[in-house]
């Protein structure tokens, strides 16, 4: 695995700003997913075990055992909530400039993606790594097989841009260099799709379901 190249042909120029990161690839994505699973287990299992020990030791300790179980449940939920936040709509002017930006964004995608964006605020974009849902302040990748999602915080650092322009920036960067996009973005969550789904607004859930259906048609990554 090579360090993120800034000048390689077709690579995102933004990679120069994260030169210390290794360029993402299929293997690093799988590893990130496994690490998130291990990390979640490491945060959860000790509390479940503690709850069992306390519960069996003495009935008077049952409230503490329950507290441990709540803790074990809450930590993965908090991570999932952080992942779901990447689909939130950014603030900003949704007046005239937004209409202009929306027109340009609409020209970049097909009718189905436009229609889903109209309902959910998320743009469906098939990629090599899976199926993407691009929002105004982040993106969600549904991996082949549809069971795991990676949520990325990524944005255009210009608060004055209309929301659809922000989304168009992310979409075009993603299309330019998908692996570079993953390298530049910050991973907010990786885990089971159902875990994030519960934390989404209804329109975003619909978009995630559509993305998952497309991702299921692809073979899951091995390893």
């Amino acid at each position: 695995m090579a360090v993120a190249p800034a000048e390689a042909g077709g690579a995102l120029p933004e990679l120069a700003n994260v030169h210390w990161r290794r360029r993402a690839d299929e293997r690093s994505l799988r590893r990130a997913g496994r690490l998130w699973t291990v990390s979640t287990a490491a945060h959860t299992v000790p509390f479940v075990l503690a709850a069992l020990v306390l519960g069996l030791a003495d009935p008077i300790l049952l409230p503490f055992a329950l507290l441990c179980l709540v803790h074990a449940w809450a930590i993965p939920e908090l991570y999932a909530a952080r992942g779901a936040r990447v689909t939130k709509r950014a603030g900003g002017d949704r007046g005239g400039s937004e209409c202009v930006a929306l027109g340009l964004l609409g020209d970049l995608v097909d009718h189905a993606a436009r229609e889903l964006h109209g309902r959910s605020g998320l743009m469906l974009e098939p990629g090599r790594l899976g199926v993407w849902l691009v929002g105004e302040a982040g993106a969600m990748l549904v991996r082949p097989g549809g069971r795991r999602v990676h949520c990325y915080c990524v944005r255009v650092p210009d608060p004055g841009l209309p929301p659809s322009d922000r989304l168009a920036h992310l979409l075009l960067a993603l299309r330019t260099d998908e692996l570079g996009f993953v390298t530049v973005a910050n991973l907010a969550f990786s885990g089971a799709r159902w875990r994030v789904r519960r934390r989404l607004r209804t329109p975003a859930r619909v978009a995630l379901d559509v993305a998952a259906r497309q991702a299921r048609r692809r073979e899951p990554p091995r390893g």
């Binding site: 995102l12 933004e14 400039s97 202009v100 168009a168 330019t176 530049v184």
Partner: protein
């Protein structure tokens, strides 16, 4: 007529328009293109589901888009 547009706070702005084979309009478009790159914009041509970063104005493209850099949030 080809267009060079910049995504900005107005939604987008047409920076230049040119017709391949018309030296006056192409020279003006190339100059405008370089000025935008000097301002920190990145230029790309998007076709279908892919986009290509360009460092010289592709005179045969219908639409060239200028975007700001992105960053991890």
């Amino acid at each position: 007529m080809s267009r060079l547009i910049r995504m900005d706070r107005t939604g987008h702005t047409t920076v230049a328009e040119w017709t391949a084979g018309d030296p006056t309009s192409t020279e003006a478009a190339v100059a405008a293109f370089r000025a935008e790159l000097d301002q920190g914009y990145f230029a790309l041509v998007s076709q279908g589901g892919s986009a290509e970063q360009v460092h010289e104005l592709p005179l045969d493209a219908d639409l060239v888009i200028l975007r700001r850099p992105i960053a991890g949030g």
